[in-house]
């Protein structure tokens, strides 16, 4: 009686855990079409995460709202509202819904970078946020 439930729970957590990796792979595959041999790098993702783009004065970098660590809860720089951690190890549902991920990349890249992010940047970002350094 208990075993199927447990298996289902494991399957569910694995589905969550696998989702960011699959999403990162999809972005990496797109990036390697433009730059053959592309491989997602948590190191580049970390640099991107910490970089001051300084396009927006309220939101000069990812860290303005998401703090220096994606594993920590953040705070909206304009509204002051709490933001759940970006890292899937801290907030399991992160990067499990591709449509939601795309929407927030589009919104936040447009305002923080002043342009949309490339597939390579997205792959690096997810690699850093989900795997850490």
């Amino acid at each position: 009686m208990k075993k199927p439930v447990l298996l289902l729970l494991i399957a569910a957590t694995q589905a969550f855990a696998a989702a960011p990796r699959e999403l990162a792979q999809a972005y990496a595959a797109e990036a390697s079409r433009q730059a053959p041999g592309f491989k997602a790098s948590p190191q580049r993702g970390a640099e991107f995460y910490a970089k001051r783009f300084a396009v927006s004065d309220k939101m000069p970098a990812c860290t303005a709202c998401h703090t220096d660590s994606p594993a920590r809860p953040g705070q909206h720089a304009v509204t002051g509202k709490a933001i759940k951690p970006l890292a899937p190890r801290a907030e399991a549902a992160r990067f499990s819904d591709p449509a939601k991920v795309e929407k927030w990349f589009r919104r936040n890249c447009t305002e923080v970078l002043g342009r949309e992010c490339s597939a390579a940047e997205k792959a690096d970002f997810i690699a850093f946020v989900s795997e850490g350094l």
């Binding site: 939101m59 709202c65 909206h76 304009v78 509204t79 819904d97 939601k100 919104r107 936040n108 305002e111």
Partner: protein, 201 residues
């Protein structure tokens, strides 16, 4: 027919507050930088719509729902009649405008409520989808409403946009309303400011 006062100040002020609030909310919907402005603008639309419901019961004669809300059948019959040489003229809201008002008030409240619940993180991601859908639908109704106003203005040779600014339209003297209702207009402003501030805080 003479130019008579048909729209009181709360109706006109409320109309243009909704126009401004909706436009601003639409322009800032996708931005985190303008998130507070978006919520304040959307709250303004919602607060005006709520006040309009009350004004539709206790307001000037031409503002009352009982005076101008007709079924969709009459609304479409009126729209068809605009193609005729001499369409029937209404001093107050025509049946098509009445339908637009009901739809826009309903959508303003529903879109505002879904947006506010999303902002307060009470609803999930799905509620944000509902909010976007309702707002898109509202923009579509706005489009049809504006088109109707243009066609109606041409058919009646009467500038209906300007009528919503001055409150004056062609009509028989006995169809005029008694006055501007300044106090109710001030109450609308006070209520909208208070409600929008409370909702957006």
């Amino acid at each position: 027919m003479k130019r008579i006062l048909v729209w009181d100040l709360p109706v006109r002020l409320g109309h243009w507050l909704m126009v401004g609030g909706f436009a601003l909310a639409w322009a800032t919907g996708d931005s985190e930088k303008w998130r507070l402005v978006h919520v304040f603008a959307g709250s303004t639309v919602m607060a005006v719509a709520a006040y309009r419901l009350l004004w539709g019961i206790v307001g000037s004669r031409t503002a009352r729902f009982a005076e101008f809300v007709r079924g969709p059948g009459q609304a479409f019959a009126y729209l068809k009649s605009l193609l005729l040489a001499r369409p029937p003229h209404y001093a107050g809201h025509n049946p098509a405008a009445g339908l637009a008002i009901v739809l826009l008030l309903g959508l303003a409240l529903a879109s505002g409520a879904s947006g506010w619940l999303t902002y307060q993180e009470i609803g999930g991601e799905w509620l944000e989808e509902v909010h976007e859908f309702l707002t898109g639908l509202m923009l579509a109704v706005v489009g049809v409403h504006v088109l109707g106003v243009v066609v109606g203005s041409l058919a009646h040779r009467e500038n209906l946009v300007w009528a919503m600014v001055t409150g004056r339209k062609l009509g028989r003297p006995e169809e005029a309303i008694a006055g501007q209702r300044f106090v109710a207009a001030l109450m609308l402003l006070a209520w909208t400011a208070a409600a929008a501030w409370w909702l957006a805080r």
